[in-house]
């Protein structure tokens, strides 16, 4: 019986793993822990240390410069010529050292940032590769790709520049203040401290105001894109229905929203007070130092140094305008990645289950099914029996449950009620791998990897060219493959190797031949093509059906007509079952197909005369 996994903390059942998963525990502890695990992973520890170290040193050097300048002024005022060379050299050294440390700092943070991106992408990829098919079935490629590209990229930006800028801002706030504390009268601490407090408070409210508007702007931009995209994709319909004006107004309205959001954002950004706060703090500090000078407590040089040190606070003030937005975005990205990675699959592999060569008799015993997390029964009370080697055609309109039925067959999902038996054994009692190895699935929109044709057919099996060729001959594909620029070695997607739907289907059929399965699931709802190819495809399908139990989802009457059993599904229920003549007699809708299409007299048909 299948285990029901209902919490993130249960051990994930993984179908593939790359060895030790260093981040498994961290993933479950939340985004922050996970990011920290990456940042401190392996040799990254040393880089982070270097980043911290160089940041501190650079700030110290900058502060020293400020102090030295003040000292120089003092000495020059005292007409101390000898000090000129001394100070020039010092300034030069400081002027070269500071950028040097900054450079090292940037290099290290970039190293960290790129590693974060590389490693999180690797982790994400491996993790997703290991998830079951039922997991993947539920994902939209677009969503997955957004995670794997944008969100992973965001983590890079988190480290560089966001975290490193924040570290730098931090040291730029603290170290000058420490210098002020150590070198100048205590009271001069007052101004920068008050500024820092006001700065942090205002920063918080600024970000709180800005973030929803930035989000709105981003959303609006997405909307003007998708709206215009839709309108232009359907331009024939728009013009045909003379709705150009309507579509224009639709676009204008959203573009106006964008404009309003843009102005809103400008208003919020203009109100960034810390700039003013700093200017006022420096002015007050300056005044304060002048007063102290008049009291004889400070010298000119010290005033100059003090102002220069306060000037170092400009950096965090300006950086904070945009850096926190990045942190927020990166946090969201990390959360989304973790959400996906922490999802568990629901199928039990049953590693100790039965492994035996299947004969291929199949029985659906009162099967009902609804997708996990939904209320709707997609299949209801499905019962039928197939003998080994028989072909069953499943027909019905979209949403009737055809594809779902075949998914249950290969245990992509487990039934909600009832059971499915193969060779009289419940499929859940088989080892999943053994079961799947004997079922070939030929999908609707055949996906071929950008490998060679040979690799796409052999796909994992160690096979000789002869074996692959034989399979291709059976699948009526050898002709067109041999005519490709490089024959079987041609890479899919390369120039001259643009394959039609029918050709792709035949490659998929060849692939199925090579794996020699007992059960074949063929989803044949592809475009109808011209009669020449049609012959070939019919032959290929015939070949692959022979002596194998086959589920056939097809629209082709030529296939339906000759199947051993036809099952008509409507709204998840079987409304008709039997062979062609059974259905002609019992199902009005089935009969109507032939009557209407071929202008056959209904009475004659019922009597068995075509």
């Amino acid at each position: 019986m299948t285990k029901k996994s209902n919490s993130n903390l249960e051990t994930q059942i993984v179908e593939f793993s790359t060895g030790i998963d260093y981040f498994e525990k961290a993933r479950k502890k939340g985004a922050r822990r996970w990011l920290l695990a990456h940042i401190f992973f392996g040799s990254n520890k040393y880089f982070i240390f270097i980043v911290l170290f160089t940041t501190v040193i650079a700030s110290i050097l900058a502060s020293i410069s400020s102090v030295i300048i003040g000292n120089a002024v003092e000495q020059f005022l005292n007409a101390n010529i000898n000090s000129l060379i001394f100070f020039t050299v010092i300034i030069l050294i400081l002027g070269l050292l500071t950028p040097l440390f900054r450079l090292i700092n940037y290099m290290q943070r970039e190293l960290l940032a790129q590693r974060l991106e590389r490693d999180s992408r690797k982790e994400f990829y491996a993790n997703l590769l290991g998830k079951s098919q039922s997991f993947h079935d539920k994902q939209k490629i677009g969503e997955l790709m957004a995670r794997a590209t944008d969100d992973v990229r965001m983590l890079n930006f988190l480290m560089s520049p966001a975290i490193s800028l924040i570290l730098e801002s931090f040291t730029s706030l603290i170290i000058p203040v420490i210098f002020i504390l150590l070198l100048y009268p205590l009271q001069l601490i007052f101004e920068p401290t008050i500024f820092t407090v006001l700065f942090l408070i205002n920063l918080r409210s600024y970000n709180r105001k800005l973030s929803p508007i930035t989000g709105r702007l981003r959303m609006n931009f997405g909307m003007i894109n998708s709206t215009l995209n839709e309108t232009l994709s359907g331009i024939e319909v728009v013009k045909g229905s003379t709705k150009e004006e309507y579509e224009f107004e639709k676009y204008e309205a959203i573009a106006k929203d964008y404009r309003d959001a843009f102005i809103e954002q400008g208003k919020v950004q203009a109100k960034y007070y810390p700039i003013l706060f700093l200017a006022i703090a420096v002015t007050i500090g300056f005044t304060h130092s002048l007063i102290l000078f008049s009291q004889g407590v400070m010298s000119i040089g010290q005033i100059i140094s003090y102002i220069a040190l306060l000037g170092l606070l400009q950096f965090p003030t300006f950086i904070s305008i945009f850096v926190f937005a990045i942190i927020k975005l990166a946090g969201s990205s990390a959360k989304r990645l973790l959400e996906l990675m922490n999802k568990t699959s629901e199928i039990d592999e049953n590693l100790k289950g039965i492994t035996q060569i299947l004969q291929g008799s199949i029985q659906f015993d009162n099967v009902s099914f609804k997708y996990p997390g939904t209320d709707n029964m997609v299949l209801k009370n499905i019962s039928f029996e197939i003998k080994p080697g028989q072909t069953v055609a499943i027909v019905g309109t979209t949403g009737s449950g055809k594809t779902t039925l075949t998914k249950l067959m290969s245990r992509l999902y487990d039934v909600s009620e009832g059971r499915i038996l193969v060779d009289n054994i419940d499929i859940r009692d088989y080892a999943l791998k053994s079961l799947r190895a004997q079922i070939a699935y030929i999908e609707q929109d055949v996906f071929l990897f950008s490998f060679s044709v040979f690799d796409n057919i052999a796909f994992g099996r160690v096979s000789s060219l002869d074996e692959v060729k034989e399979a291709a001959i059976q699948a009526q594909a050898d002709d067109f493959i041999s005519n490709l620029p490089k024959g079987y070695a041609s890479k899919i997607g390369e120039r001259g190797v643009q394959l039609s739907g029918g050709e792709r289907q035949r490659i998929a059929i060849a692939r199925a031949f090579l794996s020699n399965p007992r059960i074949v699931i063929l989803d044949d709802s592809t475009s109808a093509i011209d009669s020449n190819t049609e012959d070939k495809i019919q032959q290929a399908i015939k070949n692959v059906l022979a002596n194998r139990t086959t589920f056939l989802i097809t629209h082709r009457l030529s296939q339906i007509r000759w199947s051993d059993i036809i099952i008509v599904l409507k709204n998840g229920e079987i409304v008709a079952k039997g062979n062609h003549w059974d259905l002609i007699k019992e199902s009005e809708e089935y009969r109507k197909i032939f009557v209407k299409k071929f202008d056959i007299d209904e009475e004659k048909l019922l009597r068995g005369e075509i």
Binding site: E15, A72, R102, A126, L228, R259, A279, T398, F447, D530
Partner: protein, 604 residues
């Protein structure tokens, strides 16, 4: 400063400019002129805030001087108050400047987008054949946004320029020699900034490419995951992924290193020039050529000028990129539509008589589709067009819908040239069902009554009934109110066709143009579609590009096209008897739809 000017636009597409700078600037100017008021405020307030910002360090140095030499308290207090005032003024004027520039730019961008979209919607189909939709959307939305960014940068540059000029002037007044040495920083800055930008751009493009490789590999893996799992290929995919991932890491690390070297490099320039200033300035200070405040000014000057210099240095390439963006938008606005009507006749209910008279049509300069083509269609007649790909079938339909312009000859509808009708009114009487029906991401109902203004709409249900029956809608989660998803993806191909039929039936056109779908549909829906087809062509002039056997057997007339010429004409039985071109076509396209074929399948 909202963004780093050095990095902006490194990833921009290369674009060859055809418009001259002057013309573009004049054009851009006209877009800003409705917002003169905002722009005036921007210019004035910009100048004021730049002035106040640049004066503050000088006032500070005057105060320092004062405290060192004369110690005039009143004067000192005055200076301090002045500093306060200037700080506040600077902030306030900058605040209003930012708001007004946001207003001006946002509105200009809106106007650009609106004009471009309006122009696009007027174009005929040949425009959309030549220009992929993605590119058009990107030009209208993204290029306009980038243009806005460039204008923002321009404003920052002007501000930087003003600040820089004022500071340099004042410094020159104080001591020309020191200023001269300080000015050395400028060309050095420019050289460093610009040469980095060149190299940075190259690395950025390489980095982008490497990243694109990883991403496309990942996409492929996820797209084919079912196959990968079925054949247990995860291991192989993973090792290949690792290679590309590491490759991208290496390339992008290099890129990042290069990009990050720019600030330290500029820092070194700053350090060297500062050293020179310390030496010379110190000398001058010792010998009283300059005073304390002035010395301090010079030392601080490079700090003050750092960001303005950087902004200006990065300006030119960014400005060019911004002009390119604007040019792309103007190109869209300026392209004239190819289909132009010569008159504005509003047709009453058309009878549906069609005549192609000596029609010559070239699609593109090279591809000749029709040459002196003639065809008469009676009102209410149903006509099927068959032929190989490229024979001209779709072109005929498209010309009738006035989606393309033809070169010679004429098309008469009810005896009047198609060029003389009011295009919108004419199209209202034409119903077009394309091969792949397009649905909007809206409800079933809204898709069906799309063409109807609310006052002239019939019951949507009755349209569906006419189009083969409406019961299938009941099995949808929300019936008529079900959202169909992007392009109708939540419905089956067949269901989308039924919606397209219903939509056209609701419009009750005099002329029907139907391009039959080649995609296969389940047999039950197919029967419905046949019903729909039957009802739709009844009593209407119908031109069908036929792919169904049923269609060719039930229309009044079939014409067989080959390279733009009618080579055979008649009904199905006649044409089959002739055993000519049509019979061959039948063999290729229709045979497998016949009952005979289906029955023979059993014997293979």
């Amino acid at each position: 400063m909202k963004f780093n000017p050095v990095y902006v636009g490194l990833e921009a597409e290369e674009y060859d400019r055809t418009y001259k700078d002057k013309t573009l600037l004049r054009r851009i100017f006209t877009y800003f002129s409705p917002y003169k008021r905002y722009m005036l405020i921007v210019v004035i307030f910009l100048t004021i805030s730049s002035l106040t910002t640049s004066f503050i360090p000088f006032i500070t140095s005057a105060a320092i001087n004062n405290i060192e030499s004369s110690k005039n308290v009143t004067y000192l207090v005055f200076l301090i108050v002045l500093i306060f005032t200037f700080n506040i003024l600077s902030f306030v004027f900058n605040y209003y400047r930012q708001i007004n520039s946001a207003k001006a730019i946002a509105n200009v961008v809106l106007d650009l987008r609106g004009d471009a979209t309006k122009s696009i919607l007027d174009h005929d189909l040949s425009f959309f054949d030549r220009n992929p939709i993605g590119k058009i959307v990107s030009r209208i939305n993204t290029d306009s946004r980038d243009f806005g960014q460039t204008v923002e940068l321009l404003i920052e540059v002007i501000s930087s320029l003003v600040i820089m000029i004022i500071i340099i002037i004042l410094l020159t007044i104080i001591n020309a020699v020191l200023t001269l040495y300080m000015l050395l920083a400028i060309p050095l800055f420019f050289i460093v900034a610009l040469s980095y930008r060149k190299y940075a751009r190259k690395m950025t493009l390489l980095g982008q490419r490497a990243l694109a490789s990883v991403n496309s590999f990942v996409k492929e893996s996820f797209s084919g995951i079912q196959i990968a799992k079925t054949f247990r290929q995860e291991e192989k995919l993973y090792s290949q992924f690792n290679e590309v991932n590491i490759q991208s890491y290496k390339v992008n690390l290099k890129r990042a290193f290069i990009l990050n070297a720019i600030f330290p490099s500029l820092g070194i320039v700053q350090g060297i020039i500062t050293t020179i200033l310390v030496y010379l300035g110190g000398n001058f200070l010792i010998f009283n050529t300059i005073n304390v405040g002035e010395f301090n000014m010079f030392l601080q000057s490079l700090n003050l000028l750092f960001f303005p210099l950087l902004t200006i240095a990065s300006f030119w390439p960014q400005f060019q990129s911004g002009l390119s963006s604007s040019e792309r938008i103007f190109a869209i606005i300026d392209t004239p539509p190819a289909v132009i009507q010569s008159d504005n006749i509003v047709p009453s209910k058309l009878k549906g008589e069609i005549e192609f008279q000596n029609l010559t049509f070239n699609y593109d300069e090279n591809i000749k589709v029709f040459d002196n083509f003639n065809l008469k269609i009676k009102p209410g007649e149903s006509l099927a067009i068959v032929g190989h790909t490229g024979a001209g079938k779709s072109s005929l339909a498209n010309l009738l819908a006035r989606f393309y312009e033809f070169q010679k000859g004429d098309i008469l509808i009810d005896g009047i040239s198609i060029k003389k009708y009011n295009l919108k009114e004419y199209r209202k009487q034409i119903g077009i069902i394309p091969q792949v029906p397009f649905l909007f991401a809206d409800t079933v109902e809204n898709n069906i009554n799309y063409g109807c203004s609310s006052t002239t709409c019939e019951d949507v249900i009755s349209a569906l009934d006419k189009a083969g029956g409406s019961e299938w809608v009941d099995s949808l989660p929300n019936g008529l109110n079900t959202l169909v998803g992007e392009r109708g993806s939540l419905l089956s191909m067949g269901q989308r066709q039924l919606v397209a039929f219903a939509r056209v039936l609701l419009e009750d056109p005099s002329i029907l143009i139907l391009d039959e779908a080649t995609a296969s549909v389940d047999p039950f829906t197919e029967t419905r579609i046949q019903d729909a087809l039957e009802k739709t062509i009844e009593g209407r002039t119908s031109i069908v590009i036929a792919h169904r056997l049923w269609t060719v057997r039930h229309v009044d007339r079939i014409i067989v096209l080959d390279k733009g010429k009618i080579i055979e004409e008649g009904n199905h039985t006649e044409l089959m008897k002739r055993k000519g071109y049509y019979a061959e076509l039948y063999n290729t396209y229709f045979r497998h739809q016949s009952l005979k074929y289906i029955e023979e399948m059993g014997k293979i």
